[in-house]
């Protein structure tokens, strides 16, 4: 059932009471053990051609005289495609059938603008996010349509300082956090006795309704904050066996694994990593960026497996556009058109790639043209992984790319330890 804003406020008010219950009761009320989508945004425009490389195409070396990866270093996955050597972590997962990638993903109106293309990818509309009734982001609309805004769950989780457009919704308020440590309200340390009174006063002030739009939204986010403080207090420790890269992405995915293990009803997660706008001297920079992505993803999968929850999580990583096929004079690449998508998880039909080998002989004004609309990726995730009708979310019909395993048991309830 889809609660409207007013009803949600009432549920939110009840959360003050719920928070005094133990963690077990809270978990019992949440959508436990259900499938999760983790979106990883690679902001800046990842250079797809040097990520998943059409290494047998002779044009690769002529277009990239200084940037082409040497043939012996490329991690070949078949007779035509190979991966950048920094992707060794995911090459292993590819071999285990848990990693795949999609070539030539984009949309017709790709215009080489970071901000326009990010807006389109996140909203799911070529017009951008102010699209009439269907505003917000694609996962936000999904949450509004198919997930009830439960008071005692963290349904949507954004790792970082801000909630991205992609998760923004009307009813389901995403929780944003940068760290689970020190995630609690500070009060005057000199007067511990005053703390309960202070907390009670601020919580009641945030629960007091009847104001205009923006204040109301701030208030709802505050209530969501108080609930999430109670819930996040229950998350397990970092893994002692899996080591993540000490990067924003690595630390973010580590926090995601812990949160998913706590089973707080989380269904949608967003993590972002930046720096992919490699206009100059990109060889070292791009290698480091890809190592970070690959090692973070591999650690995340290992962590989920050791926690016994890998079967209910898939990761989809995207970037707003690919880069120009021809390198520029600064040892970098300028903004291009179609790019690639990374897929990870037990639920992914991995060990192969989707979409044709990028055709360096048929460029569109120097860029890879789009062959697969990015909304087909969303369609497949919503239809085959989350099990809902994607059309009301995407306001159109797109192809199912068939990258989800039919046989996974992701709906099985996870045994709580």
């Amino acid at each position: 059932m889809k609660a409207n804003r007013r009803e949600f406020l009432k549920i939110g008010g009840a959360a003050v009471t719920i928070s005094f219950l133990g963690a077990r009761e809270i978990l019992a009320t949440s959508a436990s053990g259900q499938r999760v989508v983790v979106v990883v945004q690679l902001a800046g425009g990842n250079d797809a051609i040097n990520t998943f490389i059409p290494y047998t195409d002779p044009r690769y070396r002529s277009l990239r005289p200084t940037l082409a990866v040497s043939d012996q270093a490329i991690l070949k996955v078949d007779s035509r495609m190979g991966m950048h050597p920094s992707l060794s972590g995911v090459v292993d997962l590819y071999a285990r059938g848990k990693f795949a990638f999609i070539n030539n993903v984009g949309f017709g109106g790709l215009d080489r603008s970071h901000f326009h293309c990010q807006d389109v990818w996140q909203s799911g509309f070529e017009e951008g996010h102010g699209h009439g009734s269907g505003s917000g982001g694609w996962l936000g609309r999904y949450a509004d349509l198919y997930l009830s805004p439960a008071a005692s769950s963290i349904t949507s989780l954004a790792i970082g300082s801000r909630v991205p457009l992609g998760l923004s919704a009307g009813e389901v308020i995403p929780v944003a956090l940068t760290s689970a440590e020190n995630y609690d309200v500070l009060t005057n340390p000199l007067s511990a006795d005053d703390r309960p009174e202070w907390i009670s006063a601020i919580r009641s002030s945030y629960a007091a309704g009847g104001r205009d739009g923006t204040l109301d939204e701030i208030r709802i986010n505050g209530e969501s904050m108080f609930q999430s403080i109670d819930l996040m207090a229950t998350i397990p420790s970092p893994s002692v066996t899996v080591t993540y890269p000490q990067s924003a992405l690595g630390r973010g995915l580590e926090l995601v694994a812990r949160t998913l293990h706590a089973d707080l009803g989380t269904r949608l997660v967003w993590v972002a990593s930046g720096g992919f706008d490699t206009h100059s001297t990109q060889t070292g920079t791009h290698a480091n960026l890809l190592s970070d992505v690959s090692d973070s993803l591999a650690s995340f999968q290992a962590d989920l497996e050791s926690r016994g929850i890998s079967e209910r999580v898939v990761v989809m990583a995207w970037s707003e556009f690919g880069r120009r096929a021809q390198e520029n004079a600064s040892g970098g690449t300028d903004h291009g058109k179609a790019g690639s998508v990374f897929l990870l998880g037990d639920g992914i039909k991995g060990g192969s790639f989707y979409g044709e080998v990028p055709g360096l002989d048929a460029l569109d004004d120097g860029d890879l043209p789009t062959q697969i609309d990015f909304r087909s990726v969303y369609w497949t995730l919503i239809e085959s992984w989350l099990g809902n009708d994607p059309e009301p979310v995407l306001h159109g019909r797109y192809a199912n790319l068939g990258f989800i395993e039919k046989e996974t048991v992701g709906r099985r309830r996870v045994v709580r330890r």
Binding site: R112, S113, R162, V175, N188, E217, I218, M225, N328, S330
Partner: protein, 431 residues
């Protein structure tokens, strides 16, 4: 449009938007001087003696990025020329350049001083200077832009983000812009802008329908004369000072005045701050404070004299708005994008730190006899905030359930706690 009623609420609104907040003295003087007088005093900041600030700034090590961030935050907090810092901050967001890539504190400082020098200056001239600014030349790679194989980064963002806006130019215009800026580079020895003729493309270029051997300055001048440019800057600056989604007639009017004055920021700011739309109901208390605005405004409002820039950095990092580190060339988002569970927690905990560790001046003004009077005086002093009755009762009840003010150390605890509470309210997140 309704005529502007110049009262305490209007003056407080002007100070919140143009000056990072207000003090009781500001309001008394503003009512005395009237709207135009107050706006002109804010605009004529060059006449204001700010030597006390200069002394305070002398202690920062500007060769470290932490020192540079603290230096700027201190300027915003303690300046007596607040409009100068507000507009410098606006221009930093507009020409968003990050130390994360530039990696040179001297160049970041140089760009910051350039923006401050042009805070009320001519936007076209500023943009020409920006195109020669070493931090920008590194940030958007133009120092590598050469005629054989151009680097598109600067030439494209100049049109999309700095001057014309998305949808107001073609790929051919991008190509012309990029070619016109070939050879705009840096002398590493002298650490200054250098034009290298051998790297410059002298061929004919067609930009916005005009064909000729254009250079970078020509591109900036052509772009900044376009109606689309006027609308971009007028709309963006009105949204920054006034409210979101301004009426397009208002934007056209502001854009016209700005272009007619040869892209004068001073003219545009004065038009905005004296417009009835700026003082309208849609504008008052309509804007969500960004993390920097919340932090600077809170410290100014509390009149805290201690250097709090040390822990400010952590607070701003958590909320994703550290000066000199915009997330990308589009700058920071605005409005509700700043509000979520993590950011509200960070704001509340920042307020806890400043109210419990420092002694705010407001705590010394003990003129209340009852909890209700204390709540009323602090709501007025820190805002003024208009809160629902239920919230007011919660605040009074927090001070004392018995209806009488506590005494001694207990009163100090409650006053600090109450200040922390008020700064944590939903109302305190808005300007």
């Amino acid at each position: 449009m309704d005529p502007i009623v110049w009262d305490r609420a209007a003056a407080a609104h002007l100070y919140r938007r143009a000056a990072f907040g207000t003090t009781p003295e500001d309001l008394v003087r503003a009512l005395d001087e009237g709207l135009e007088g107050t706006v002109d005093r804010l605009l004529d900041f060059e006449a204001v003696d700010d030597s006390a600030l200069d002394q305070r700034l002398a202690s920062f090590d500007l060769e470290t990025i932490g020192g540079l961030v603290g230096w700027w935050l201190t300027r915003m907090i303690f300046t007596r020329r607040p409009l100068e810092e507000r507009l410098t901050w606006f221009l930093h967001d507009h020409f968003a350049t990050s130390y994360g890539k530039v990696q040179d504190t001297g160049w970041m400082l140089q760009q910051n001083q350039l923006l401050r020098r042009f805070a009320l200056g001519n936007f076209t001239e500023l943009t020409i200077e920006i195109s020669r600014d070493p931090a920008m030349l590194v940030w958007l790679d133009n120092f590598l832009n050469r005629k054989e194989k151009p680097n598109e980064n600067f030439g494209r963002e100049l049109l999309e983000l700095f001057t014309l806006g998305h949808g107001n130019f073609s790929e051919e215009d991008v190509s012309a812009s990029v070619r016109a800026f070939t050879g705009w580079t840096i002398s590493r020895q002298r650490r200054t802008f250098l034009f290298v003729d051998a790297f410059h493309d002298h061929g004919s270029k067609t930009f916005l329908g005009r064909t000729g051997d254009w250079n970078g300055d020509d591109i900036v001048r052509f772009a900044c004369a376009e109606p689309a440019h006027g609308r971009l800057i007028a709309g963006k600056l009105f949204e920054f000072l006034g409210h979101a989604n301004p009426d397009h007639h208002l934007v056209d009017h502001l854009a016209g005045a700005y272009l007619e004055a040869g892209t004068s920021l001073r003219t545009l700011v004065r038009e905005i701050l004296t417009s009835s739309a700026f003082y309208s109901e849609a504008s008052i208390r309509s804007s969500v404070l960004s993390p920097v605005e919340y932090l600077v405004g809170t410290i100014r409002q509390l009149e805290i004299n201690a250097d709090v820039t040390r822990f400010a950095l952590g607070v701003l990092r958590t909320q994703g708005q550290v000066p000199f580190f915009p997330p990308d060339v589009d700058g920071w988002p605005a409005g509700m994008a700043w509000i979520n569970s993590g950011s509200l927690l960070s704001r509340m905990n920042f307020a806890a730190l400043v109210t419990s560790s420092a002694d705010p001046v407001v705590l010394l003004e003990r003129s209340a006899d009852t909890p209700a009077e204390l709540v009323e005086s602090l709501l007025k002093r820190l805002g003024p905030f208009d809160v629902p009755e239920a919230t007011r009762r919660e605040l009074e009840n927090y001070v004392s359930a018995e209806g009488s003010l506590p005494a001694g150390a207990e009163l100090t605890t409650k006053m600090k706690g109450l200040t922390h509470l008020i700064l944590s309210l939903p109302e305190a997140q808005m300007s």
